[in-house]
């Protein structure tokens, strides 16, 4: 059963400037026992401040809050990028992160090759990619452009392709930063349907958004964050 469970989850970012990243500073620090260099632990920013929650099967969570409230950091923690610096985080289930749709894609490669790059990054086996590739190309409506290097694409085409790839393989847990809106009127209707379908197949959705309207439409639970803490959950 898919589950996201955080207990007193804390995430501190260390802030490095060029000097604290350097070896010299570290050596001096070691030599002076941290007395003279009073920045011995470095500066860090607390992005998530001891939050607890449990998200279970069937929940569609809208994550709201001002810029810098910790929404994106929380999404990345849920994606397994940032390990908790305090507390614990349990992630049961496969995670599809729609945080960066075109991750790993490269302009020099053709659309076709980029489908492989993106899929392989999502951990899809080659045989499964081959089985789905026609469907992905067809949905993207790129036609013969699929054989052209991606740098020749317009930004709309670029987005259509990466969207088609990322929503081709369902996962237990879907993470999204802002609702995805793709392309012109016609395509965006089609894309909306596909995205809804994709989410329906998932067990848990966490959507960070600024749009109250969007969150009300999609989600059945809203978590509001401020300064790294949860101020409202329900």
């Amino acid at each position: 059963m898919s589950l996201l469970k955080a207990e007193k989850l804390t995430i501190d970012y260390p802030i490095f400037d060029s000097s604290s990243r350097s070896l010299k500073k570290a050596l001096i620090r070691a030599a002076t026992g941290g007395r003279i260099a009073n920045d011995s632990r470095g500066i860090s920013v607390r992005a998530i401040d001891g939050i607890s929650f449990s998200i279970e099967h069937g929940e569609r969570v809208g994550l709201m809050g001002n810029n810098g409230a910790g929404k994106s950091t929380l999404l990345r923690a849920l994606a397994g990028v940032y390990a908790p610096t305090g507390g614990s985080l349990q992630i049961n289930g496969s995670v599809a992160s729609l945080l960066d749709l075109s991750l790993g894609m490269d302009g020099e490669f053709t659309g076709y090759e980029n489908i492989f790059i993106r899929c392989v990054l999502m951990g899809i086996p080659r045989s499964v990619i081959k089985k789905h590739i026609d469907e992905i190309i067809e949905f993207s409506e790129l036609g013969d452009y699929i054989k052209m290097p991606m740098r020749t694409y317009s930004s709309g085409m670029h987005l259509r392709l990466s969207f088609s790839v990322c929503t081709a393989f369902p996962a237990d847990i879907v993470l999204m930063d802002e609702w995805l809106a793709v392309g012109d009127a016609d395509f965006s209707k089609k894309a909306e349907n596909r995205l809804m379908e994709f989410i329906k197949k998932s067990s848990i959705l966490v959507l960070a958004s600024h749009s109250v309207e969007q969150v009300n439409k999609i989600c059945n639970r809203i978590i509001i964050m401020e300064h790294g803490s949860i101020i409202k959950d329900g």
Partner: protein, 263 residues
Amino acid sequence: MNVPPKKIIGEIPAIVTYFNMWFLLGWYDIKQRYRRSVIGPFWITLSTGVMVAAIGFMFSTIFKSAIEEFLPYFAVGQIVWLFFSTQINDSCTTFVQYQSIIKQMSVPLSVHIMRKLWNNLILFGHNFLIIIIVLIIFHKMSWMILLAIPAFILILILLFLVSIMLGIVCTRFRDITQIVAVFMQLIFFFTPILWMKKVLAGRNSWVSDFNPFYHIIEIVRAPLLGEAPAWILWVYMLAYIAIAAAMALFFLKKFRHRVSYWL
């Protein structure tokens, strides 16, 4: 789909489970670098070939050694060294280079290292053509070559472990990347690659006797040139691997989760 991070050290089995990922991406890295070039990665073969031929001829004259002895010796040593040192240098910047992935999704660190290693292995493959040509020209082909295979596998294991360690350390302390580069440059001159071990003739022979880089190069160079490597070299290699494994595991255990914060 992405698997959430494991609590135990899943970095080693990840090499197998993530095979698809590093294999394809590493291959595409090469493809990308040589896109729109007519002979592609064979530019590497060409440039190494020219260098080996030129230096081979010149230094066999300077050292007054027979070309059929010096050139194959230099060609094999240089090409293995090139692979080894490039991987060591690249390992320092691997995580920084692939940070867009590391900061977006959870992939075991060993997968990125394998991608880089595979990358350099492909380039080594292109350079290996020169070794084959040189061995044929100078009639050095023998069954002994087969012994180079296990030796090379040991080098790969060692490189993988050292790369993990350096990758982690250099992501935290960016200066170490530069230190490693200078160090590798220096080591090249202290290791019998451009010069033969016998020129030391007893004096200062410790420079090569106790030089791990000499052991690493020699264990594949000897069989490629038709001689069995001294048995002690195998012992040395296994010892280096044991030390590197201990260090790599230590760094992984302690800092594996910190790397994404350091980028």
